[in-house]
């Protein structure tokens, strides 16, 4: 099967300019990225600040185009301008700051903004708005002003706004960076549900390791390159390497690693607190 997203040797360079606009230097934000994503998958891209992960996200939506290399989204070349709109219909994008991506003063009107731009007929817009607000659990707020909602709620509205465009894929560029822990949980839960129930391909860009435990596959980026890849378990087991890229494994994994260093027979790739409790109980009762 052809991959849904296919990046080959993707390079992106930003030029630095002085006040007169002369190029003074070139920053290589992406340096030869190869990533393949299957349709319906849940992929996480991890990276510290400045690792190039947001630049990569913007490529997926054709907001930026490759300097070198190619990127295909659902078979469409992002470097061709005529593909811009079809790509944006296929891959929706949720940004970091919830306030800066909400256009309207009423929740339902904001969710309808995308479909309006796409020229969807009126009745269909209403149907989509209702559907997508329900799928993120924000239907009862449809008449409210986004200004009265919490960060997590606003971010779910933004997701609904993308859902209403019926994309095959949603790219989330650090959607939880500005949220409190409860808002973060709600957003990630919503994203996981969309992936499972609606079979939407999810690309989650983040630096919170806890959020990627549910992903099918994880890419770790640093200095514009993919440094590690694998399932969350495979990646988290290599905590020393992760630390090199300024990433911290989740607390549970850290505990398990510490215990295993002390000579206790415990797997290194523990992801969930329940898992750790189970294993510890088994060890205590002498099963392991």
């Amino acid at each position: 099967m052809k991959p849904f997203i296919n990046a080959k040797g993707l390079v992106h360079e930003y030029s630095r300019r002085d006040e007169e606009g002369n190029v003074t230097g070139i920053n290589r934000a992406l340096d030869g990225i190869d990533i393949e994503v299957k349709a319906g998958g849940f992929i996480a891209v991890l990276g510290a600040n400045g690792s190039g992960k947001s630049t990569f996200a913007k490529h997926l939506n054709a907001l930026l185009v490759p300097t070198e290399g190619t990127l295909y989204v659902d078979g469409m070349d992002t470097s061709e301008q005529k593909n811009n709109l079809p790509i944006r219909r296929t891959a929706g994008m949720v940004f970091q700051n919830p306030d800066n991506q909400i256009i309207s003063n009423v929740v339902e009107e904001d969710v309808g903004f995308g479909p309006e731009n796409m020229g969807v007929p009126t009745e269909e817009i209403w149907r989509r708005v209702e559907e997508s607000l329900k799928s993120v659990g924000m239907y009862e707020y449809r008449k409210d002003s986004p200004n009265h909602l919490s960060g997590g709620q606003k971010q779910r509205i933004a997701i609904a706004g993308i859902m209403a465009m019926k994309p095959k894929c949603i790219v989330l560029d650090e959607p939880t960076a500005m949220l409190d822990p409860s808002g973060r949980k709600a957003v990630i839960k919503t994203v996981k549900e969309l992936n499972k129930k609606e079979n939407i391909t999810i690309i989650l860009i983040t630096h919170y390791m806890e959020e990627v435990t549910g992903a099918d596959y994880v890419y770790v980026m640093s200095e514009g390159q993919v440094k590690m890849k694998g399932t969350p378990r495979q990646v988290f087991a290599r905590s020393e390497e992760l630390a090199k890229y300024r990433l911290m494994v989740p607390e549970v994994t850290k505990i398990a690693l510490g215990l295993s260093k002390k000579g206790i027979n415990i797997p290194k790739d523990i992801l969930y607190p329940e898992e750790l409790t189970d294993i510890l109980l088994k060890i205590k009762s002498g099963v392991l």
Binding site: L85, R88, G92, S104, N105, E109, G112, G114, P115, P121
Partner: protein, 269 residues
């Protein structure tokens, strides 16, 4: 004080006024504002006030929300009032003290001018409270559509207005935050003469502009990502269509204007 601006603050409730076509509300608000300048006697103000009171009741917007809109322009109001008070010449001099002369005509004009300004502000406040900014810009877009032929970018301007309205509360909140942050670091916005105080605003204005520019970039990206491509080929989630109630509203407005004009001509006071 900065939090009190009501323009652009939609008050969500169900009422006949809220349900009216936004074009009706825009046209009627303009007509109302113009009507305020069509008379110059007490009865006119009474009719204008009564009419406004009825509309407010119908709109179910609490009166205190509407009145809040006056606060930010209080200074301007007092200023124009004083100008009118001292600079109107007339026959019936009430007080004469040095260069200061206050005439009966001046007092009358001051009161009327102030009332006019107040009605003007609360009138437009009521419109923005009862209409979502998006509806408002839809209305303006549709009303100004003929200008498209003259190459005026009507849709773009309407879009900019609606975004500006959306960001007013956010930027107000941000200003508040910046002010508090600067106060916490010992900034002083209150003391000193006027020049000193204007200077001391720089640490507020500059971060505010920087952040507004950043927000604008973010928003532009987000709009791009959501397939925004100008007004062409766009459909509407809430298309504007005149209904029976809108025609009735126009007729009521027409009636009001007629009454005001007749009152202005024939009523003695």
């Amino acid at each position: 004080m900065i939090r009190d601006i009501t323009i652009g603050q939609y008050y969500a409730t169900e009422s006949i006024i809220h349900k009216l076509d936004p074009r009706v509300k825009v046209v009627c608000t303009f007509a109302y504002i113009i009507s305020l300048f069509c008379f110059n006697q007490l009865s006119g103000y009474i009719i204008a006030a009564l009419f406004f009171w009825c509309i407010t009741k119908l709109s179910k917007v609490p009166f205190k929300f509407i009145v809040r809109g006056i606060k930010p322009i209080l200074f301007m109001l007092v200023f124009t009032a004083l100008l009118n008070l001292f600079w109107t010449s007339g026959e019936h001099i009430l007080i004469k003290y040095g260069v200061i002369t206050i005439t009966a005509e001046g007092v009358k004009r001051t009161i009327f001018m102030a009332l006019r300004l107040v009605f003007l502000i609360i009138g437009s406040s009521l419109m923005t409270l009862a209409t979502t900014p998006n509806q408002l810009t839809d209305a303006i877009e549709k009303l100004l559509r003929p200008l498209n032929k003259l190459k005026v970018p009507v849709h773009e301007v309407a879009m900019m207005m609606s975004i500006a309205l959306r960001f007013i509360p956010i930027l107000v909140e941000e200003t508040d935050k910046i002010m508090k942050a600067q106060l916490a670091r010992g900034a002083d916005f209150e003391s000193g003469n006027i020049f000193h105080r204007i200077k001391s605003m720089a640490p507020i204005i500059i971060p505010l502009f920087v952040s507004a520019a950043r927000r604008a970039t973010d928003l532009a990206l987000a709009m791009d990502a959501r397939c925004y491509n100008g007004g062409e080929g766009r459909t509407k989630m809430k298309p504007l269509k005149y209904k029976k109630q809108d025609i009735i509203a126009y007729l009521i407005m027409l009636l009001y204007i007629t009454v005001i004009i007749i009152a202005g001509k024939y009523l003695p006071f």
